[in-house]
Amino acid sequence: MKKRLLQLLQENCRYTNEELAAMLGTTQQEIADTIREFEQAGIIRGYNALINWEKVEGSEARALIELRVSPKKDKGFDEVAERIMAFDEVEGVYLMAGDYDLAVFVKGETIQDIAMFVARRLSPLDSVLSADTHFILTKYKSNMTDMQNLASDKDERECMV
């Protein structure tokens, strides 16, 4: 039940406890308690709307920065990650396996802003060895959601059964 509750919340966190209880065949109390447990355990970290910013006027530019960094002796990548996370421009930081170490998602008002942020704030950091900037043109799918409504959602079922 717990995993399915999480899947439902990820699908739509605005389901009411009553609806969730009906779907999962349990009580509202049980749902409320389980969600509280998830929140306290840090499993549920928040409830965000999935916004297609590209459709919002005056919206911002976004980029993925591939950072190669040198880990610190005791703290590994945590220390530099924490510093990078603290910037308001940074939307996401992932530790990666592969050619680079940190994937940093950055937003800015313009492409120039992002370029300047990388040059002035990220690159000069002590442990940063290199920064490779990729500007994001369009988000097709994000958080399991077709952001552009590209996939044809027309219901083609029309047989009489």
Binding site: R4, L8, E11, N12, Y15, E19, A22, M23, L24, G25, D155, R157, E158, C159, M160, V161
Partner: protein, 390 residues
């Protein structure tokens, strides 16, 4: 030219399906939210589609043997032993057909002689009555009742039995009511079948969609019934493979041999690509069944609660993907309700009487849709009911 002279009168007198009518109206309207389709909303799982594609790439584009590929018949028999505990011989007891529908048609034509009576529980899927009539049988309707959650009782069967009764149709899990028969229900029916020496056509196309902790039961697994039952099933509902058109019949070899004759002359063989895909489905598709069942089950619980809260009471259906709410409290007939709901709120449901007169006072609602879709439809139905009260 007067074509009537050339048209067979049995066909001419057969009414078109009442489900079709609402589809046609809904099809011409904009922004319709439908709860009316009778097929899965899932796409065929990818590994199954891939097996079909792979067979095409390898140029496997020839007819299959009339009965279907041996590998498929073997997998069907293994599956039936595994899931239902009934053993069939892949060489003689299986016929692969173009959907369950062909198997129903063939079974009727093989079993029924002119004037034989065919017991058909209703509400049920629209094909049994016309197909029985087309096979020169006499359809005899058994009206199942809401107070029994639309399950068939032995008393209801016995009431309709005459010297001419030959075949009993068992349409469970049921389209449109979502009713299903437990092992005990089937055992009670089996006693009557034995007593009156009937033959049975058990349409188990929805068997895998069983909820509420109930296990799928095949009528053929009831002692003594395997030798007097044709089981019809297929891949459409179980693996979301409706468009592949693949089903099968299982039964005593004497009957299957006759059905195979009919199939070989009328159809030749079921689609080859679909058969390759189906082999993959049976071999590696159990997890897909489980996944889809869980999704349907969530929607089922959601929608049953929602209708009951709206005052359109419905029993908890334990099979298929339909609920069958009672709309008698609105004072409207099923058709009035469905028509007004469609025109005023653009929500399409199917009137219960499309599945037999005992479905009057009910509507068929399919939950083969996303929860978001169902939620929107329910809220529109709520508005509709509120406006009707004023």
């Amino acid at each position: 030219m007067d074509y009537n002279r050339f048209i067979n009168s049995k066909i001419k007198n057969t009414k078109p399906s009442g489900i079709r009518k609402f589809f046609d109206i809904a099809g011409e309207m904009e922004n319709v939210i439908s709860l009316s389709v009778g097929e899965p909303d899932f796409k065929t799982p990818w590994h199954i589609r891939e097996a079909g594609i792979d067979s095409l790439e390898k140029g496997k584009t020839f007819y299959s043997p009339n009965r279907g590929f041996t590998a498929l018949r073997e997998e069907i028999c293994r599956y039936f032993t595994r899931r239902f505990g009934v053993d069939y011989d892949p060489q003689t007891d299986v016929l692969v057909t173009v959907g369950g529908s062909e198997a129903i048609d063939a079974a009727m034509r093989v079993v029924i002689d002119e004037g034989d009576e065919v017991l058909i529980p209703e509400p049920s899927f629209v094909c049994y009555e016309p197909l029985a009539a087309m096979a020169d049988g006499v359809p005899v309707i058994i009206e199942t009742k809401a107070e029994n959650d639309f399950r068939l009782t032995p008393e209801e069967i016995e009431e309709k039995i005459t010297e001419k009764t030959k075949l009993l149709i068992l349409p469970y899990p049921n389209n449109p009511t979502g009713a299903s028969m437990s092992r005990e229900d089937y055992e009670a029916v089996a006693k009557v079948v034995e007593k009156y020496d009937l033959f049975v056509l058990s349409d188990e196309i929805y068997a895998e969609l069983a909820y509420g902790g109930t296990k799928p039961v095949s009528f053929a697994s009831i002692p003594g019934m395997r030798e007097r039952t044709i089981v019809v099933s297929g891949f459409s509902k179980t693996y979301a493979m409706t468009g592949w058109r693949l089903g099968y019949a299982l039964g005593p070899k004497e009957i299957i041999a006759q059905m195979t004759k009919l199939h070989q002359y009328g159809i030749m063989s079921a689609p080859t690509t679909a058969q390759y895909a189906a082999i993959e489905a049976l071999k590696n598709g159990d997890a897909d069944i489980e996944h889809m069942r869980e999704q349907y089950d969530m929607r089922r619980r959601y929608i049953v609660k929602a209708f009951n809260e709206l005052g359109l009471t419905c029993f908890e259906p334990l099979g298929a993907f339909y609920v069958f709410p009672c709309i008698k409290s609105t004072g409207m007939t099923s058709e009035e309700f469905a028509e007004k709901l469609l025109y005023s709120k653009s929500v399409a449901v199917v009137p219960g009487n499309a599945f037999g007169s005992s479905g009057e006072g009910f509507i068929r609602v399919s939950y083969s849709y996303s929860v978001a879709h169902i939620k929107e439809a329910i809220s529109r139905i709520g508005e509709f009911l509120a406006e009707m009260k004023q």
